[in-house]
Amino acid sequence: MSDKEKKIIKTIRIDVDKCNGCRACEMICSAFHAAPKYSSNNPARSRIRIIREPLRDLYVPVYAGEYTVAECAGRDKYTIDGKEYDECAFCRASCPSRDEFKEPDSGLPLKCDMCEGEEEPLCVKWCMHDALILEEREEELEEQEELEELEIGLESLADKYGMDEIMDALSRLNNKD
């Protein structure tokens, strides 16, 4: 067994200068993720959203990332090239502090899955201005390193809660499966 694993990293290159603000990406994302596929669409269910304020020339596509139970301790607000963006504008999290990336009816979190099974994410396909471009590269993963990372994490948890607590929690989680 090799100690190195290969992984495809998918990156969407976002060129905000090329965005024309049409929101086709939001539309097609919601249609693709409808059940059955394409049977409905509703940009409010989209896993991509365009921060779009034409009069201030703000056009930023942002993808839905992880769900988080708690909001950050502090918030950020960017000003780039003299243009001020909303609080937490670029954050990908589905978070209690805002309405983004949640199903409008159930409130369940949404997350971009890069349109699994498709040649490329459909937002990329539908963006005819190339504001969204898919790039793939292969990376070798050092298994060793990953273990180390895990160990570091566990150690920090043990420091905080004590080893017994961690063991208890682990066995509880284990029993759940």
């Binding site: 024309n20 249609a31 394409y38 669409n41 509703n42 304020e53 009069l55 201030r56 909303d86 409008p104």
Partner: protein, 668 residues
């Protein structure tokens, strides 16, 4: 389950402040599709010809097209319908942007206003929560400014807003409804909205729109996307750049304005300026545009970039599209810097960019001719540009002479008298037209100008080339991939069309061919207007991605209505005839169906008569332009026939025009 449409309209009684969600009849969708079609049906049913534009009984309808909100590319238009204060006929102006899809996602196909509100209000639609809110703090505010204020006060940055400016509030007859980068400008719909006391409609929707056959529908959408890419990479050779590609005329993108500036007429549609487009002017305009244009922008779900964000130094940012870039500039004999500056104000005031500059140029011409006097323009600046800014303010505030000018050249000339009427020379059906004067009569355009009821040539022309190609091999090349034609015969019409000689204008295309060509072009526009599809990807450019062959499939797979080319053409004919019937019941007749006298230098009265006679017959209208009983019955419009007979517009026994004396209302 209803597909593509929501199956609900919102009925808003402004007098009683009552709001109801009303289910619609799916049979109407089959017969009239949606958008313009069902708008026309509602207007016919509920607004009799006795009702004036500013009567509380007049309706103001915001109708989303049938396929708006589905993935159909570029399908985003709202069709606004009411009775126009200017033409006194049915107005059905459209706007792109983001409003129609949002309305559909909120759960409604249309918003229908009736009555009048005493105080200025705005309607806030947030899915199922709907309220009329006080708008007194927005009185006098700009249309774009209003949208920004409302989004902030509701804390709804994603809400879409359609608003009027001061022009609409003061019932200027050519006031528009503005919606960010888009506007419904023609016919004075903004004035009706102002008269009803509605400053804005605000909508936010987060619900689903379903399609009947998802797989098929997406297949069709993908084909359209691929064809758009193909057309973007392969502009049509042999025509000017503005006609070579897709989309609305790419005025925001294209810098070369030689053709427009040298071939259109300046001032009050009077002066042609050959040699205007010098290198220096070209450089100057290029710089102005590059400096002020921050971005090319699109409407909802459309890859075309027909609009732009414009920031002129010291002025608020606004969005512009198409021809407004030139109309003020040309009206005032000025330059692009002036044009973009005054358009900013005009957009906030909410004015039609076609009519407004012409009205102002008309006023200054009357001053020059001594029909109006210096006293009529107190404190008017001396400089040319200053005069236009002055007049713009006077008009939207209806102050002094502005109060008269606010009603457009036709009505203003009547009020001013003293020979002023000769100066309101560029109207059709009382509505200002593009400032264009040409030499040789074009029989196709003659019919389109005469019989069009959208009051704008750009809203009827499109599928057939505007002029013949010089070389036969170029024509042959053109027809090779011209699969959009409804019938092969159109290819032959074009192949044989010569710039000179026997088969040239005005006698070729022949009268019968002209009927075919005009009918096809108009039909495609009417289909677009029911589906909510932007003409820029369909009926306006040559060789568009949407055409008579794929539209039935879109409707079947999208709305779940069985459809073929014949049935679709019949439906379009049905509501097109209904539009005409509304106007006929309001007194429109053959006498109103003519281009401006001076549109062409070389006219052919006999040919023109034959064209109109033949086209009327072709359309199933009698010699006065009234749909005949037989043709109405054939289209399932028996109720129109009955009403016409009741009103003496048609007689029971024959289809000859009833005596004019019997028609109650004369609009002249």
């Amino acid at each position: 389950m209803r597909y593509a449409e929501t199956g609900f309209n919102l009925e808003v009684d402004l007098t009683r402040k009552n709001i109801e969600k009303v289910a619609t009849d799916p049979r109407d969708t089959e017969l009239y599709l949606g958008g313009l079609g069902t708008n026309a049906k509602i207007l016919w049913d509920r607004v009799p010809p006795e009702v004036d534009a500013f009567s509380p009984e007049n309706l103001l309808i915001f109708g989303a097209g049938l396929l708006c909100g589905t993935p159909a590319v570029g399908c985003n238009r709202t069709i606004l319908t009411t009775i126009s204060p200017q033409t006194k006929l049915m107005a059905f102006s459209m706007m792109g942007g983001f409003f129609a899809p949002e309305l559909k996602y909120a759960g409604y196909d249309k918003v229908i206003f009736r009555g009048k509100s005493q105080d200025l209000v705005y309607l806030w639609i947030n899915n199922d929560k709907i309220e009329l809110r006080d708008a007194s703090h927005l009185k006098g505010k700009g249309a774009i400014e209003t949208a920004e204020i409302i989004r902030k006060e509701l804390k709804q940055p994603k809400a879409q807003v359609a608003a009027i400016g001061m022009a609409g509030e003061n019932r200027v007859f050519y006031a528009s409804v503005e919606q960010g980068r888009s506007s419904a400008s023609r016919g004075g719909i903004g004035a009706v909205m102002g008269d009803k006391g509605v400053k804005a409609i605000v909508v936010r929707g987060t619900q689903d729109i379903n399609v009947a056959d998802p797989e098929k529908f997406m297949g069709l959408c993908n084909e359209v996307m691929d064809y758009i890419k193909f057309r973007n990479d392969n502009p049509i050779p042999g025509v000017m750049p503005i006609l070579a590609g897709l989309g609305s005329p790419q005025e925001m993108k294209v810098h070369d304005e030689k053709w427009h500036t040298e071939n259109f007429m300046w001032g009050n549609s009077r002066t042609r300026r050959k040699g205007f487009w010098t290198d220096e002017v070209a450089r100057d305009w290029f710089e102005t545009m590059e400096k002020s244009r921050t971005r090319l922008i699109s409407c909802y779900n459309c890859p075309m970039t027909c609009g732009a964000t414009i920031s002129m130094p010291g002025l608020p940012t606004y969005m512009m599209k198409c021809f407004t870039k030139l109309t003020y500039t040309m009206g005032a004999f000025s330059d692009l810097d002036f044009g973009l500056k005054i358009a900013q104000k005009a957009t906030e005031y909410g004015l039609d960019g076609f009519s407004a500059p012409q009205v102002m140029a008309f006023a200054l011409e009357l001053l020059e001719e001594g029909i109006l006097h210096k006293d009529d323009f107190p404190e008017m600046p001396e400089d040319n540009e200053g005069k236009f800014f002055y007049l713009l303010d006077m008009i939207v505030r209806r102050e002094g002479i502005g109060d008269v000018l606010a009603e457009g050249t036709y009505w203003a000339a009547k009020k001013i008298g003293n020979g002023a009427e000769a100066f309101a020379h560029n109207n059709i059906k009382k509505h200002e037209q593009l400032p264009l004067k040409l030499s040789m009569l074009n029989p196709i355009y003659f019919l389109m100008y005469s019989t069009g009821e959208k009051m704008n040539i750009t809203q009827i022309e499109g599928q057939f080339p505007q002029a013949p190609y010089f070389k036969k091999e170029h024509r042959e090349e053109f027809v090779k991939d011209w699969f959009h034609v409804p019938d092969e015969k159109f290819k032959q019409y074009f192949l044989d069309w010569e710039p000179r000689g026997e088969k040239s204008m005005p006698f070729y295309p022949t009268v019968d061919m002209c009927c075919d060509i005009v009918d096809w072009q108009e039909r495609m526009h009417y289909i677009d207007d029911a589906l909510g599809q932007c003409a820029g990807l369909s009926s306006f450019p040559l060789k568009p991605p949407y055409h008579i062959h794929n539209y039935p499939k879109f409707i079947s797979a999208g709305a779940g209505i069985e459809m073929d080319e014949n049935k679709l053409s019949q439906a379009a004919k049905r509501y097109r005839t209904l539009v005409r019937s509304i106007n006929i019941s309001r007194g429109m007749r053959r006498k109103d169906e003519k281009p401006p006298e001076n549109h062409w230098k070389k006219r052919f009265p006999e040919l023109e008569k034959e064209l109109l006679d033949t086209y009327y017959k072709f359309k199933g209208w009698n010699n006065d332009g009234i749909p005949t009983k037989e043709s109405l019955q054939e289209m399932g419009l028996d109720y129109v026939a009955q009403e016409f007979i009741k009103r003496g517009i048609l007689t029971d026994t024959q289809d000859d025009p009833a005596k004019e004396a019997l028609t109650k209302k004369e609009t002249n």
